[in-house]
């Protein structure tokens, strides 16, 4: 039983999250929850590479968008069943990750240069998707509404919430397992000190490429879920900077390199975002686009300045002080 203990906390969190759509039956809240979970999943992907691996990507949209467009295109243009298309789309996302990772890491890009190159790749994807006919170009792509569980579309939002939870939970359990095994130890060693890791027999290049590939797969999965939930994509939605930013903000605010960080961060971010939007709307009598993002930017700076290990880092620091 003790072998299960590290995973028990994750299961407990999942149980709590699973109850939410039953408690809150408003459509708006349920959509909010699903969207937040999708961002949390994308953040789990980023966190693997950035939090555990220490390689900060500014272009995770490349993976999110590939997953999203892939599942959409495979359904709409090739008539594939979305459940069948899902692993293919995730695989494509992973492939994109592997390619970008191989190019970037073999060129020994780190820090700002790595961030820049990932940003550039994301922009190339975005511009390309905006002109290619297969992605619908600037008009975007619509997944035809056909509510049927076999078609990966659910009439009941609560069900989609639980489906998303299954994916999120599986990823969290996977990451927790990796964390405690050789790959996790080596990934963290690479983050802390590449030369020392190398001298201890760690194939740094292979570890980094493995990390980005898995990271990409996870974020691509989030993209697939987004596509199946919202049923419409265009190049800004799929490959836009918004998802690159949210995928990195959630883990940073919640706690870099922890399995709960991205989930906590996603809820804090979106929670504050929604509160801000509502508050500003009551103040000014109308919606102010972008105001929630301004707050995200402030949160980012404040977190980096005062709590570089995120909320969870603060909590553990306080616990150490109290002890």
């Amino acid at each position: 039983m003790s072998r299960l203990r590290p995973h028990a906390a994750i299961l407990a969190l999942l149980a709590v999250l699973a109850v939410l759509p039953v408690m809150f039956t408003s459509g708006t809240v349920q959509n909010f929850l699903i969207f937040t979970l999708i961002v949390a999943l994308a953040g789990q992907g980023w966190n693997l590479l950035g939090g555990y691996g220490g390689q900060f990507s500014f272009g995770h949209a490349s993976f999110f968008g590939t997953g999203a467009y892939a599942i959409a295109i495979l359904q709409e243009r090739l008539g594939l069943n979305p459940w069948v298309a899902l692993p293919v789309a995730i695989g494509l996302g992973a492939l994109v990750g592997a390619v970008i990772g191989t190019l970037a890491f073999q060129a020994r890009l780190r820090g700002s240069y790595f961030a820049l190159v990932t940003l550039a790749f994301a922009e190339v994807f975005r511009i390309t998707a905006n002109v290619l006919p297969v992605t619908g170009g600037a008009a975007g792509i619509l997944i035809r509404l056909k509510l049927d569980p076999l078609n990966f579309q659910f009439a009941d939002r609560a069900v989609f919430h639980w489906v998303t939870l299954v994916f999120l939970g599986a990823v969290m359990l996977l990451i927790r397992t990796l964390e405690r095994r050789r790959f996790g130890a080596r990934l963290v060693a690479v983050r802390e000190n590449e030369d020392a890791a190398r001298a201890l027999g760690v194939d740094v290049l292979r570890v980094k490429i493995a990390a980005i590939t898995l990271s990409a797969a996870i974020t691509a999965c989030a993209g697939c879920l987004y596509a199946q939930k919202f049923l419409y994509l265009d190049s800004m939605i799929a490959y836009g900077p918004w998802i690159s930013i949210e995928a990195l903000l959630a883990p940073i605010i919640g706690g870099l390199g922890t399995v709960f960080g991205p989930v906590l961060g996603a809820f804090v971010l979106h929670g504050i975002g929604e509160l801000t939007k509502t508050w500003i709307a009551t103040l000014t009598g109308g919606a102010l686009p972008g105001v929630d993002l301004v707050l995200f930017g402030v949160l980012l700076i404040v977190t980096v300045g005062f709590a570089p290990r995120g909320i969870l880092g603060l909590v553990s620091r306080l616990r150490v002080r109290a002890a």
Binding site: R181, V188, A197
Partner: protein, 250 residues
Amino acid sequence: MSALLEVEAVTMRFGGLTAVDNATMAVPEGAITGLIGPNGAGKTTLFAVISGFLAPTAGRVRYRGEDITDLAVHVRAERGIARTFQVVQPFAGLSVRENIAVGAYLRHAAREEALAAAGAVAERVGLARMLDQQAGALTVAGRKRLELARALATGPALLLLDEVLAGLNPSEIRDMIPVIRRIRDDGITILIVEHVMQAVMNLCDRVHVIAQGRLIAEGTPAEVARDPKVIEAYLGHGAAERMLRVQGDG
């Protein structure tokens, strides 16, 4: 004793500067070999070439007879060559045990085994009591031992120590020397780059002296200490003669 490591005519040039010039030396198996020299002599550069962090401009490095010059650092570790770093940087945020485990994972794929091996290594270097502490909380002496432990955990046949005593006070040095000797007694060959003469004299079976990029002397510690070329390298031109004159007058 056969040579575990052979350095063959290694030259390292950086632009116009020749840091190491045609160095040839052998590290016999089962012994502790020292590499010493004044500051800027090229010790660090030669060490970097031997450990695989620098590719030499010319020359080869052989390990167990096999040419490893072009072998990546992590592959050398797999083959049994481990090194420590002069500026110790433990993996922050990890415990001492987890730090050492990173090395142990090279030989043990499973978590439990790696952690157990890490504990055993910690015993050997005297860190057993600190195993669950945060690595960042260790003193300098503790970190040096952690460096040793991490490298040892990879199960090396050849251990390259890069100024492992730098920054330690005399009593800490005194405590470290038996630890290093014990490692040799366990069958591991050691090449030690060092400034602290007391340790070199105490530990090494043979010593190589490098000055201005060239290997100028080789022998037992006592032989090397008397070698006029070595004295001059450290104390300056004419120093050997002056010393002889002083001894003659005294």
